[in-house]
Symmetry: C3
Subunit: 342 residues, 3 copies
C-alpha cells in the first residue's frame, strides 16, 4: 500500500517520498517496505538508524528525522497498531460449512453455523456448539462437548469424554485427554522392578474463554476431572498432569509444567519453564518465576517466588550474592588470624 | 445413574436422597452430581464441607456426616475406583476394520484383526502386527514394524524404519524417528561460522510394553539404533536424543530430556524437567530429581540426585541452607572483630 | 548383507565367518547382526566384549581381537559411516506428484516438480516453490510462501501468512505462526483480575537453510515478523516467542525457549532446556549452557554462560564449590573463637 493511501486511512500527514509499505515493525527490526513508529525522543538514535521505509512520528516531533519518509500522526503507537491491522494477513474466512471429507459419526450433533474443515474426524455422541470453528485434520473422540464459538485450529486431538467451554481457542497440536503418567512403580520383594498402568477413568474439562497454546498437553483425570477454569490462558508446550485444578483467570507461560492433583488459584501467573510439584496448592494471585521449582504449597504470604526450590525474590537475591559475601568474610577471617599471629 | 442403582453395582447401602450421580471426584474438587469418598477420619473436615452429591464412607463411620447422601461400603477407596470405572466414558470400540479412507501401500502387511482409522497413511513394506490399533490421522513411513496389540492414538508419526514392539501405547502427537539435532558446527579459520548436517542413518527401536506420552519426541540414531527398552514408561513432551539407550523398566516424567548417546539403566526414574547430558551412563535404579541437571555419569553410589549440577539430597539440602549458615558465620566474625577492638 | 559383500563395497578384508550384517552400531550397543568399529586401542576392552557380529579394525591392529568376525580397513570410522549409509533404511522416494486426496485451493500456486502427500491441505494464495516436498497430512494456511527444495515432513502446520525460505527442513509436528501468549493481564482498581487477548497481526518468517525439529513451536509476531535467520538449526520441542529475531547460523538445542522480542546474534548456541527472557539481546557467538536462565542482555564479553541467573563458567564453578569454602571458614572461625577463650 502507498504511504499516501495509508495516511488517508489512519489520519496522518506524509513528508517525503510516497513509498510502498507492506508491514509494520519496530525501529530496529524494520527493513525496506516497513512502517515503523516512535513516540519517545529517547529512541531518537534508533529513529536515525532505522531501515524502515517510513516512520510514524508525533506531529510536534522536533528531533532528528529518520533517513526515510515520515508520517506525522497524533499518537504513533496507536497509529502503528491501526496500520499493523491493515497490513496483517487477512484472517481466513471460516464460513459455516462442513467439508465433504470430514468423517462425522451420525450420532454426533453439530450446532448452528459451525465450520468443519477437511479431514476432520468427529466420533460418536459428540456435541459441537453453535458457531464453533473446527479446522482441518482435527480429531474429536466420542462423547466430547465443544462449546459455542470455540475455535479449534488444525491438528488438535480431543480424546473421548473431553469437555471444552464456550469461546475457547485451541491452537495447533494441542492434546487434551491423554493418559499421562499414571503408573505404580517400585520393587518387588525379590528386587525386581515393576511398572503397572493405572486406569485413567476421568476426563479433561476446560472452562469458558480458555486459550491453549500450540503442542500443549493436558492429561485426563485418574477419576473425576482435570479442570482448567474460565479465562485461563496457557502458552505453548505446557504440561498439565491428571487431576490438576486451575480455578481460573490464570496464565501459564511456555514450557511450564504442573504435576498431578495440584490446585492453582485465581489470577496466578506461572512463568516459562517453571515446574510445580504434584498434590500441592498455589494460592490466588501468586506468581511463580521463570524456571522456578515449587516443591510445596504456597499460601500467598509471598506473592512472587523464584529459584529451585523456590523462595522469595529477596532470599533469592541474597543467595545470588552469596559468593561475594563469603569472599568478604574469608578476607575478614584471614585478617583476624593474621592479627592473632602478631 | 441413581445412587440406588450404583449401590446395587458396588455393594453399598444408601442413606439419604436417591440422587443422580455422574462422576467420581475427590472431596475438595467434587461438585453437584459427583460421588466422593473418605476412609480416614482425619479428612472429616473435607467430608463436612464437600459439595459432592454423595459420599462413600466405611460402614462403621461414626464421625461427622457430609451435607449430602451417604453410601456405606466395606472399603470406600476400592468402591470409588469401581464407581469411577462405571462413570468413565466408555472406551471407544476399535473393532477390527480398515477405514476406506486410509492410504495403505499395497506392499504393506496388516496382521489379523487390526483397526486402521480414517486418513491414516501406511507406506511401503511396513508390517503391522496382529490386533494392533492404529487410530485416525496416523503417519507410518516405509519399512516400519509395529508389534501385535500395540495401540497408536491419532496424529502420531513414525518416520521410515521405526520399529515398535508388542503391546505398546503411543499417545497423540508422538514423533518417532526425527533427525533431531545432528550438526557439526564451529568456526572456520577465517572466523566465519558453519553448521553442517550429519546424515542420521539409524532408526528408533521401541521394546515391548513401552508407553509414550503425548507430543514426546524420540530421534533416530546417527547409526544403529536409538533404543527404548521393554516396559519403559515415558510421559508427555519428553525429548530423547539420537543413540540414547534405555535398558528398560524405567520411567521418564514430563518435559525431561536425554541428550544423545546417553545410556539409562534399568528401573531408573527421571523426574519432570530434568536434563541429562549426552554420552554418559546412569546406573540401574538411579532417580534423577525434578529439574535436576546431570553433567556426568552416575554409578549408582548415590540413588537420588537433585540440583544443577546434580548432587545428593544431603548436599543439595546443605546448599539450600547455605545463606543461613553464612549469616551465622558473619555474626561470629563481627563479634570476633569487635572483641579484637576492645 | 553378507560380510564378504560389504567388504567388496567398502574395501575391507574379512577375517573369520562370513556373517550376515544388518546394521552399524557402537561397540557397547551392538548386538547380533551388527557391524561395529574401533580405531583407538584405548577401547580394546569394549572390542573384547562387544556383541557385534563383526568389527571394523585398522589393518595394523595388533591388540586383542573381538569374539566375532573382523574386517580390516584403512580407516574404521570412515568405513563404518560408509557401511551405515548402506544399511540405512532407504530414503523414501518423493517423486514429483500431487496426491489425489490433497485439498489444494485453486488460487494456490505449485512450483515445478513438487511432491504433495495424501491428506495435505493448502489454502488460498499460498505459493509452493520448485522441488518442494510437502508430505502427508500437512496444513498450510492462506497467503503462505514455501521456498524451493524445502522439505516439510508429515503433520506440520503453517498458519496464514507464514514465509519459509529455500532448502529448509521442517520435522513432524512443527507449529509455525501460532498466536502464542499475547495477553494483557493485571488487576482492576476493584481488585479483580483481567486477561485480555492482544491481536497478533504479524507473521513468522524463516530464512534459507533453516532446520526445525519435531514439535517445535514458533509464534507469529504481534506486528511485523518473528524472524529466524538463514542456516539456523533448531532442535525438538523448542519454544520461540513472538517477535524474536535470530540473525542466523545459530543453534538451539532441545526444549530451550526464547521469550518474546529477544534478539539472538549470529553463531550462537543455546543448549538444551535453557531459557532466555524477553526483550533482550544475545551478542554474536555467545553460548548459553544447558538449563541456564538468561535474565538480561549478553554483550559477548563472556562467551559461555551457565546457571540461573546465568554467570560465567568461572563464577558458576565458584558457586558450586561454595559449600566447601563455607565449611572451611566455619572451622577457622571456630578455632579463632576457641583461642579467644584461652
Amino acid at each position: 500500500m502507498k504511504a499516501s493511501e495509508l495516511c488517508g486511512r489512519i489520519g496522518g500527514t506524509l513528508e517525503g517520498e510516497d513509498v510502498e509499505l507492506v508491514a509494520a515493525a519496530g525501529l530496529d527490526e524494520a527493513r525496506a517496505g516497513d512502517l515503523s513508529f516512535c513516540k519517545d525522543p529517547k529512541h531518537v538514535k534508533a529513529v536515525a538508524s532505522t531501515k524502515a521505509s517510513a516512520v510514524l512520528l508525533p506531529r510536534d516531533w522536533a528531533h532528528e528525522l529518520p533517513p526515510c519518509s515520515v508520517i506525522r500522526v497524533d499518537d504513533p503507537n496507536h497509529a502503528c497498531m491501526a496500520a499493523a491491522a491493515i497490513f496483517a494477513p487477512p484472517e481466513p474466512e471460516r464460513k459455516p460449512s462442513v467439508h465433504p471429507t470430514a468423517v462425522i459419526d451420525p450420532s454426533a450433533s453439530l450446532g448452528e453455523g459451525v465450520y468443519i474443515g477437511p479431514w476432520t474426524v468427529i466420533e460418536k455422541n459428540t456435541v459441537i456448539g453453535d458457531g464453533a470453528v473446527i479446522e482441518a485434520q482435527v480429531f474429536i473422540g466420542e462423547n466430547c462437548k465443544v462449546g459455542a464459538k470455540t475455535h479449534i485450529y488444525p491438528q488438535v486431538t480431543l480424546r473421548e469424554g473431553t469437555v471444552v467451554g464456550r469461546e475457547c481457542i485451541l491452537h495447533c497440536g494441542v492434546r487434551l485427554g491423554g493418559d499421562g503418567y499414571g503408573f505404580n512403580n517400585g520393587r518387588r520383594e525379590d528386587g525386581s522392578v515393576y511398572i503397572e498402568k493405572i486406569p485413567q477413568l476421568g476426563i479433561v474439562e476446560i472452562g469458558d474463554g480458555v486459550e491453549i497454546g500450540s503442542n500443549t498437553t493436558i492429561d485426563r483425570a485418574r477419576i473425576g476431572r482435570t479442570y482448567i477454569g474460565p479465562m485461563t490462558k496457557i502458552d505453548n508446550l505446557v504440561q498439565i498432569g491428571h487431576n490438576v485444578k486451575i480455578k481460573g483467570y490464570s496464565g501459564l507461560i511456555a514450557q511450564s509444567g504442573i504435576a498431578g492433583s495440584t490446585e492453582i488459584g485465581c489470577g496466578c501467573l506461572i512463568w516459562a519453564q517453571a515446574g510445580i510439584s504434584g498434590h500441592i496448592k498455589i494460592a490466588d494471585g501468586v506468581q511463580v518465576g521463570p524456571q522456578a521449582g515449587v516443591p510445596q504449597s504456597l499460601d500467598g504470604s509471598v506473592k512472587y517466588v523464584i529459584g529451585t526450590p523456590c523462595e522469595s525474590m529477596k532470599d533469592f537475591g541474597a543467595r545470588v550474592l552469596l559468593p561475594k559475601m563469603v569472599s568478604k568474610i574469608k578476607t575478614d577471617v584471614k585478617e583476624l588470624k593474621a592479627k592473632k599471629g602478631e
